[in-house]
Symmetry: C2
Subunit: 211 residues, 2 copies
């Protein structure tokens, strides 16, 4: 079973001078449940090289490891799965390539897209952006905030687990989980924290509290 409570999306360029390896190791110490290799500004080759370290770290810690966008990099790294957006390969195509056991996630921001992704066979959703974010790098395709009412509507509409993303902090995580999210996905709330371990732990406590 995947622990959805705290889901870290990596981005070295937003990590206050620290490497993604360091951030992930700290987040593991803080109780992170899922790590997504993102690193949008890196080449496929660089993501593959970086991912080999992350695969080792996450495997040792029994933390789920997924790759953003690229099914082939996920396969090459023996990742647990892939996280897909509107511009990526369709979920059923990724399923054919990765198999039944793979964890396939899909970014959505509407109830309709959430239903479609679940029907297409996604294992989980990334729902957002819930709140406006300072760094627009924190979210993928959507520039606007969907709010916790939309989170509640999506929780009502689909049965698969989902993490909320976009402007999530230890302060607002409680209300996001109360609205129905199974966990919270963050970049900068962990990557730019003075103490990423403590930040992960604080998010984890907030999620538990909201449940």
């Amino acid at each position: 079973m995947v622990d959805w409570d705290v889901y870290l999306v990596t981005q070295a360029s937003l990590s206050a001078g620290r490497t993604t390896d360091e951030i992930v190791a700290d987040a593991i110490d803080g109780g992170v449940g899922v790590v997504q290799l993102r690193e949008k500004d890196r080449t496929a080759r660089e993501r593959y090289e970086l991912g080999r370290e992350l695969r080792d770290l996450t495997r040792e810690a029994d933390v789920a490891f997924v790759v953003n966008d690229r099914v082939d990099i996920a396969q090459a790294l023996d990742a647990d799965g892939v996280h897909l957006g509107d511009d990526d390969l369709p979920v059923p195509v990724a399923r054919d390539l990765l198999g039944e056991d793979a964890l396939i996630g899909r970014s959505v921001s509407t109830v309709e897209d959430a239903r479609e992704a679940a029907a297409a066979g996604a294992d989980y959703l990334g729902v957002g952006a819930v709140f406006a974010t300072g760094s627009k790098d924190d979210i993928d395709d959507d520039e606007y905030a969907i709010g916790t009412e939309r989170v509640a509507a999506i929780a009502e509409a689909v049965d698969i687990p989902f993490v909320a993303i976009g402007g999530i902090t230890a302060d607002n995580a409680v209300e996001v989980v109360r609205a129905g999210a199974d966990g919270v996905a963050v970049i900068t709330a962990i990557t730019q924290a003075d103490d990423p371990t403590a930040a992960t732990d604080a998010l984890h406590s907030a999620v538990e509290q909201g449940r």
Copy 2:
């Protein structure tokens, strides 16, 4: 056996208002041997959708079909292989994912890189940019022209087939093949031609003449 004589790299945005399907159908009529799905400015999803048409067209015509950069799109399309650059997954990783029968190409511009790619298991090379190109979209990573002497040096250094790319026309294809290239790869010499069928045929004749 792959027919390397004329290798078409697709780019709808350089196709004078025609679709890539139309260009590829015309190039097949003109005797193209290999089609590479490139379309750098399209999303993975769009390339996948477009590639389904190209896969059908090329399969019917018994023309080799490879996908630029993305091993997963190649797999999803049941393409014959993939063409990789410096920023993409390493050749041995692609080989693991695609298997022994896949056609794996590698872009190189130096003798040293050509040797390395052959040693890493590439089936063929794209060598260039041979000539300066008007549209820099015609070449991948290199802004400078390596010239036919470099083509000859690479022909001397490696045993795997290679196509020359970058500023190739029916006028200069003869000297490129005389220098040792097994064929010529082009975008605009076909995609922007008034008559892509005639342009492909003219390139083919020039390659035969250079041999």
